[in-house]
Structure formats: structure tokens, C-alpha cells
Symmetry: C2
Subunit: 307 residues, 2 copies
């Protein structure tokens, strides 16, 4: 029987360190890092995410601003706005909240952000630095995953690592980071033939494909570390009961919101794993902590301070 | 018993296509692609490589120039020279020949090249585009490897692929390309624990670690496609005889040059594989063909022609 690997205490520690450093710079040079969020349209989830980021900035002493633009903002106008933020001396980090309205191309929009201000670590230039194992802002969720794995005391070097999913915000940058950490990394996806068999060879397994409770014990090598990056809204009460038994929190979710958030990994996997990160409460808190750290680091790089 | 998978005829076909297109543009708009090579110092191998590239350009109708700079050129002066080439309208591609003298950082020098002119496909921005599977110039040798694999008629999608080696000119960009081709890719390296066992699971195995004849039949799944990217100079006559038997060409090399070029894969592997690329004569000819293709594509992108 393995342990649940929650992300909150590690995230809190990272945020405390950021806060302490921000305070140090505030006192020593009278400046603090600044983060600008860009929201195009009024997607309700995006608004919640951005407000959480804003509140976290406030708690850590980081200056923040949210630029709200109408859903029909033309690409050219958005570009002008991003260039204004690029030019803003008090803005160290710029994040463009996704999803964007259909007429905007996220890859193109992100490439307008100056790489030094890309605190999400998703600009092509920064992805290239990651592949090269050169210093630069690292994609937040993968950076959180690496930190969470290391927090168990386990070594990544020489271990067989399997990443399921090849998105640009998790799978692909994560595979690059874990290769840089000297893991032997396999990246699986929808076209992989023997997914369970491949996953079951992993000392460290990361599920990031976005399929609720897809990864069962047959995917897992005994004693493996299993990181669950899925966040799937599930409304099927029978499925929830089958997966979690009688779970008052999830029953309440279903009653009040009509859904509960389920990872890509079945909770029963923890019996076979050494560690399993829960959903919610696993990777989630780390993503925002890494965003804060990236913002602080962008501030330090921009001013020539030692990282 | 598998077949030897030579690169020459595919490379010739690629070059013929480039030549025909160059001629078409020369006639239709009076312009041809231009490639500038930068050589710092007088490394003899580098001079040979650059002269081969120059001759290939001439054969295909591509304008070319080699900028020769003294070995002690300061970084700042090199940067100025590269910026002049960046600004040159008649120059579509810039390649900086490596290795550079020790006082110059290759990663930094390459990042001075405008991404659109980086026909080697090794600028961080272009590596990021590759990771994202977005259009852009692709690293030459990996692009040649993918083309050579496809030339066998084999599908990459859904196949287990193992890449041994994680250099920035072969292993890492190649792993990204093969993931983009829907292969299930594992990238192995010096810290991998069970290298032979991992390699032996591959339907497609690429050896790019730079260790002469390291990969033996025990690394190979019966019927696998084996691509050998090693180019190692070996002087040990007994080893050469053991690997190749009585090979007049290699005996002559040893006698006249004191070494012969050996891949990372033992020639005996071909008996177990479906295909094995030889060294020399496998991947080598494709690298330069892909450089020519990248130069043509940079010319077309720069002028807004359909790729």
C-alpha cells in the first residue's frame, strides 16, 4: 500500500520562499516582480483561474494586473496590447490565459510575448532552451511534477519513466525535463500500441492524457511512483461510487455542482504504487507555485540578480 | 538477413528536387537561395565539411559563400559578422560550422542567427517549433533519418522506437520528430540502466551515441530497422578485422589514413535486422541533402512562396 503524495505542503514551501525573496527585494531595491494576465473573452473557468493567480500574487507581494479584452478582439489589437506589456518595465511576466476564442491562434499569440517574460514557459524559444537543458523559464505544471517526484526522495536518474500524453503544457516539456534529469523516458500517446504494458515498465509513471480513471493497476509496476495530472469533470454518480466508494466530498460535489473532478488514474492504484498523487490536491497547487517562482526568476534575470 | 539501407539514392533524389526547384525560381524570379557558412579557425575537418557543402550548393544552383574568421575572433566581432549575414537579403541560410574555438559558446553563437536563417535547425526557437510540431526548419541529420526510415515503406506510427543518445544535433530533436510521427519513443543515454534490453524492444532503433560498434545483435529485436548515426575513427586493425572480416576498403583506409570510420552498430546486426544503415554511406549523405532543402525552404518562406 503506497502513500498519497499531496502537493500542498511543497507548494506552500515554494510560495513561502518566493514571498521571502520578494520581500527581500522590496526592501533592498524598492521593486517587486510584476505579473500581467491577459484574458480574452469571459470564459468562467479562465476568470476563476486568473483570479486565483491574482490572489496568490497579492499574498506573495507580487504586483499583478489582469488585462480583460472582449472576446472579439482582433489578433492585431491583441498583439499591440501584448507589445505594450512587453515594453512595460514593471511587468516581468505575462501570461495569456487559454483557451482563447476560436479566431485566435494560441501558438501565435504566445510567440508575441517576449521570451524573457514568458513565465508560463511555453514560448517556442523557451521550449528550445528546455530541450537544450539551458537556463530559462520552465513550463509550470511539468516543473511542479519534477519537484513533486523529487520531494519523495526518489532519484530520477537511471529510472524508467513513462509519460502518457504529449500536450505542450504537460507531456512534451515534461518528457524533456525528465530526460534532462537523466531518466530513461518513454512518451506514450493515443497511437501507442501496448499502453498498459509500456506503462507497467515504469518506475515513475505520469498520466496526463485527460481520460478519467483510465489508468488502472494493470498499468502500474509494483512500487512505482504514479503522478496523476488529469482533471476531468465527471457527472456519472455510479462511476464515482465505483471508483471512490462512499466519498462524502464527491457526493456533495455531484449534488451541488453536478460533477466532481477525477484524475486519469484510478484511486485503487495507490495499493500497488509507492506514491500516487491525488486529484484534486496533487499537482494542481504546484502549477501556480511554479508560476510565482518563474515570475520571481524573470524579475531577477531582468535585473541581473543571481538566480 | 536484412538489407543494407544506403542513403545515397534518397539523398540524390532530394538534391535533384531541390535543384529543379532552384532552377524554376531562377527562371521565374531571377533569384536563387543563398547559403553562408561561417568558419572560425582552421579545423581541417571543418574545412572539408564546408567545402563539401559549398560544392553541393554549386551543383544545385544555390549561391554560397564561406566566411573565414581567425581562431581568436572575439565573440562580439563574430556577433557583428553574423548580424551582417542576418541582414543580407541574398542570404537565406546561415550555418556556423562546429566545433568552435573554446572561447566561443556554440549555443550562444547559434542564437545570434535569425531563426528564419537557421538552416541547421538548431536555434532554440526552431527547436521549440519542432517540439510543438509547428512548421520550421528541422535539424538536418534527424530529418534525414526520418526520411530514410520512411523510404523503406515502414510506418513509424504506433511503432516502438528507441533512440540511443541525446545530443542536440541528433538524439533530442530526432526523438521529438519521431514522437510527432506518432512513434512511441524512448530516449536512452549513458545513465540508462538496461540499455540492451530497452533497445531490444524497439521496432526502430537509432544508435547515435558515438561509441564504435557498441550495438551488437543483443540490442536488436528480430526484424527491426536499425539506423546507425555513429561516425567513429578507429585505428585498431584487429578490431576492424574482427568486425568486417577481410575488407579491402577498410584495410586501405588503415594503411593510408591510419583509421577507418566505424558506426555505433556492429555490421553483424544486419543478419537480425530488416534494414541497417551502413557507415559510411547511410545517414551521412542525407544530412547535406536536408541542409540544401532547408536552404531552399528558407528562401521560399522569406519570399512568401508556398512551401
Amino acid at each position: 500500500m503506497g502513500a498519497w503524495l499531496e502537493g500542498k505542503s511543497l507548494a506552500d514551501k515554494i510560495k513561502e520562499n518566493v514571498q521571502a525573496e520578494v520581500e527581500k527585494y522590496r526592501q533592498s531595491c524598492g521593486a517587486v516582480p510584476g505579473l500581467a494576465g491577459v484574458l480574452v473573452g469571459d470564459n468562467p473557468s479562465s476568470q476563476i483561474y486568473l483570479r486565483t493567480k491574482e490572489r496568490t500574487c497579492q499574498a506573495l507581494g507580487i504586483w499583478s494586473q489582469i488585462l480583460r479584452l472582449p472576446a472579439d478582439t482582433p489578433a492585431e489589437s491583441l498583439k499591440v496590447k501584448i507589445e505594450e506589456l512587453n515594453a512595460g518595465d514593471h511587468i516581468d511576466g505575462i501570461l495569456v490565459q487559454v483557451p482563447l476564442p476560436a479566431h485566435l491562434n494560441a501558438h501565435q499569440v504566445v510567440s508575441w510575448v517576449r521570451p524573457e517574460k514568458d513565465v508560463d514557459g511555453i514560448h517556442p524559444y523557451n521550449l528550445g532552451l528546455l530541450l537544450e537543458n539551458q537556463p530559462g523559464p520552465r513550463t509550470c505544471t511539468p516543473a511542479g511534477i519534477v519537484a513533486l517526484i523529487k520531494s519523495t526522495g526518489a532519484s530520477i536518474e537511471g529510472r524508467d519513466v513513462v509519460v502518457i500524453g504529449r500536450s505542450m503544457i504537460v507531456g512534451k516539456p515534461l518528457a524533456a525535463m525528465l530526460t534532462n534529469e537523466n531518466g530513461t523516458v518513454t512518451i506514450c500517446h493515443s497511437k501507442t500500441k501496448d499502453l498498459a504494458g509500456t506503462a507497467a515498465r515504469a518506475d515513475i509513471l505520469i498520466a496526463a492524457m485527460g481520460k478519467p480513471a483510465f489508468v488502472g493497476p494493470d498499468f502500474v509496476k509494483p512500487g512505482a511512483i504514479v503522478i496523476d495530472v488529469g482533471t476531468n469533470s465527471v457527472s456519472d454518480a455510479a462511476l464515482i461510487r465505483q471508483l471512490y466508494g462512499n466519498d462524502p466530498k464527491r457526493e456533495k460535489d455531484l449534488r451541488e455542482k453536478g460533477y466532481t473532478v477525477v484524475g486519469d488514474v484510478q484511486p485503487a492504484v495507490v495499493e500497488k504504487a509507492s506514491f500516487q498523487s491525488p486529484v484534486p490536491g496533487g499537482i494542481g497547487p504546484l502549477t501556480i507555485a511554479m508560476l510565482m517562482r518563474n515570475t520571481l526568476e524573470a524579475f531577477k534575470r531582468g535585473r541581473g540578480f543571481q538566480l
